[in-house]
């Protein structure tokens, strides 16, 4: 029997019992679809979180004042209790590290903004010219903060899109003057609407030069320093460089905390990746069940077609012919189920993306390949036993059955 004939014979046999075949294909399809949809959901959640973090900049080191103790009590904890402030001079010094490309000092405070008769509470962010670049923010109109001497308190402001709408409505905002607290500032730029994102939203922010903010809030400390390094791989060495500089500037004591974006991102990535894998595992159980169903259906087929098997043997079919025919039939059922399930799964993932547009619910390739391979694998594996049983049937006994 040639392979083409075996294939034709097996497919005719599968189509000869349409209801049975349809149900079998459906069972396998549900298994595959479950894996595809659930991994799409899990991986979508992972990608959503990772993208949100990546939008903050993946190669950032954030310096904050004070030390976060994670190693329990050490001699250092008895020497100082109050950390030294983080200053603009510290930020400037960090630029000397070779792996650092850009920095942005950050000062934050609440204040009131007023234009004409309108008044509202706002968050004021004092920073430098590089902040927009580091955070991938876009300026819709005008320009971002000028590249000045960081000590110079220029009376300029860049405002968020929501703020612009609320304060100026349809009027031109660029060049207008607004009052923040007691300071009069000229609007030089409008941020593009940032959509949604984790952390700060630029839509309702007033961004001013760091010296202006410090004067406004009567302080000389920084809230954070954002440091951008050359690449993601350079994060580790860069962190050591920064620690060295900061230690030297603070009498050998490192009373600041350095957080890398990468570490947080990596943790989320791992947790959600494991979650996806777990969900895929649960879905894979349905594939195993479908595999057992294939075996059941094929065993019924062998019983149902005992007479036919006897006939084939009488006509000179070898055990191998019969084994291959039944194995091919099991493989075809699984293949059909896998393909239908693949399509169903993608429709399901599409439905999720339609219902939750923020969630990039695409099934990961590894999950799709694993699902298809498992479907085919279990189908063939569980098809072996019935096929062997068919091949071993005694022709005389088989022929007596109808």
């Amino acid at each position: 029997m040639t392979p083409a004939d075996t294939l034709r014979f097996a497919s005719r046999a599968a189509l000869g019992y349409p209801l049975r075949t349809a149900l079998m294909v459906l069972a396998m399809a549900i298994g595959v679809a479950a894996v595809v949809v659930l991994t799409a959901l899990g991986d979508g959640a992972r990608r959503y979180v990772v993208e949100q973090f990546a939008s903050l900049g993946a190669n950032l080191i954030i310096v904050l004042p004070g030390r976060t103790e994670t190693g329990g009590v050490n001699p250092g904890s008895f020497i100082t209790s109050t950390p030294r402030d983080l200053t603009v001079a510290d930020a400037e010094a960090l630029l000397r590290a070779p792996l650092v490309t850009r920095i942005a000092p950050l000062t934050l405070g609440n204040s009131e903004v007023s234009v004409g008769g309108k008044l509202r509470e706002v968050l004021v962010l004092g920073t430098g010219a590089d902040y927009a670049g580091i955070r991938n923010y876009r300026v819709a109109q005008g320009q971002f903060l000028p590249r000045d001497d960081p000590g110079r308190a220029a009376s300029v402001a860049v405002i968020g899109d929501t703020l612009r709408r609320e304060l100026f409505g349809n009027e031109t905002a660029i060049g207008r003057v607004l009052r923040v607290g007691d300071t009069r500032l000229r609007v030089i730029g409008i941020m593009a609407p940032s959509g949604q994102g984790l952390g700060m939203n630029t839509d309702e922010l007033v961004i001013v030069p760091v010296a202006t903010a410090q004067a406004m809030f009567n302080t000389n400390t920084l809230f954070r320093i954002m440091v951008e390094v050359r690449s993601r791989e350079a994060l580790g060495p860069a962190q050591r460089e920064l620690e060295k500089i900061l230690r030297a500037r603070r009498d050998g004591e490192l009373d600041v905390t350095l957080i890398t974006q990468d570490a947080v991102l990596g943790t989320f990535d791992r947790i959600l990746g494991a979650l996806t894998l777990g969900v895929a595992g649960i879905a894979a159980i349905s594939l195993a069940v479908a595999g057992i169903l294939v075996m059941n259906v094929m065993l019924v087929a062998v019983t149902q077609r005992t007479g036919e098997i006897g006939l084939l043997k009488a006509l000179g079919a070898t055990g191998r012919n019969i084994r291959l025919a039944f194995l091919t039939e099991a493989a075809l059922l699984s293949l059909a189920g896998a393909i239908v399930g693949f399509a169903l799964g993608h429709v399901g993932a599409w439905g999720i993306r339609l219902a939750y547009p923020v969630l990039p619910a695409w099934p990961p390739n590894w999950a799709v390949i694993a699902a298809l391979a498992t479907a085919l694998g279990t189908g063939v594996l569980f098809g072996v036993m019935p096929a062997r049983r068919a091949a071993r049937l005694d022709p005389v006994q088989a022929l007596m059955k109808r």
Binding site: R12, L15, G16, A314, T318, L399
Partner: protein, 240 residues
């Protein structure tokens, strides 16, 4: 040399703890081109004999030489090959594959033999023509009459041009007229040189054969040759 030589064949079935001797010390030889009817009451071992002749069953003792070759020692796959090439089966209940058309049923042995499709198509077309089934080629078995079904089965049995045709009650499920038609068809094939061995209950059909083997309790009671010369009508050839 006889085409079929059975020598001291024993076949024992075990039912629970009792043993049933389906065939006891059976020796018989059949020449190529013979027309043999195997007759006898139920349970006399006729069907067991036919299964052994068709290599569907193996004897517990004794030798079966087919065309001079001892086939009892062959492996299952080798026996399958002999069946495919040399033996055609016709069954009482036709045994057609219900989901395949008449033409596909006829072509099944050719498929199993792995013949190329164009050669298959040619031979199936010829068989359909020979058996008057051209108009029914694409019909499925449930769309055929009993006589047509048996014609399809006979066409399938002969498509590999076997040396012998084994028929188990070929007319058992047919009415009288159709039965005679099928009998004539089988006899025509025999006249063309194929050995024909028919198991039957029907004395009329049995009487048509030139040689009758009468079985009883697994033994050959009578071996009667109607032609060419009626030797002693009731001589037990193989007593034990």
């Amino acid at each position: 040399m006889a085409q079929i030589e059975l020598d001291g064949i024993e076949r024992v079935f075990r039912l629970g703890d009792s043993e049933v001797h389906a065939l006891r010390g059976l020796s018989v030889s059949i020449d190529a081109g013979e027309y043999v009817a195997v007759m006898g009451p139920s349970g006399s071992g006729k069907s067991t004999l036919l299964n052994l002749l068709g290599l569907l069953d193996r004897p517990n003792a004794g030798h079966y030489r087919l065309e001079g070759r001892d086939v009892t020692t062959l492996s299952a796959d080798e026996q399958a090959e002999v069946r495919r090439a040399r033996i055609g089966f016709v069954f009482q209940s036709f045994h057609l594959v219900p989901r395949l058309s008449a033409a596909e049923n006829i072509g099944l042995p050719l498929v199993l033999a792995g013949l190329p499709p164009d050669e298959r198509a040619r031979r199936v077309a010829q068989a359909l023509k020979d058996f008057g089934l051209e108009a029914r080629a694409s019909h499925r078995p449930d769309e055929l009459s009993g006589g047509q079904r048996q014609r399809v089965a006979i066409a399938r049995a002969t498509i590999m041009r076997p040396a012998m045709l084994l028929a188990d009650e070929p007319t058992g499920n047919l009415d009288r007229a159709t039965g005679q038609e099928v009998t004539a068809l089988l006899e025509g094939l025999n006249a063309a040189g194929t050995t024909l061995i028919v198991v039957t209950h029907d004395p009329v059909m049995g009487a048509r054969a030139r040689r009758q083997l009468l079985m009883e309790d697994g033994e050959l009671r009578h071996d009667v040759r109607a032609e060419p010369a009626p030797t002693a009508p009731a001589v037990p050839v193989a007593p034990r």
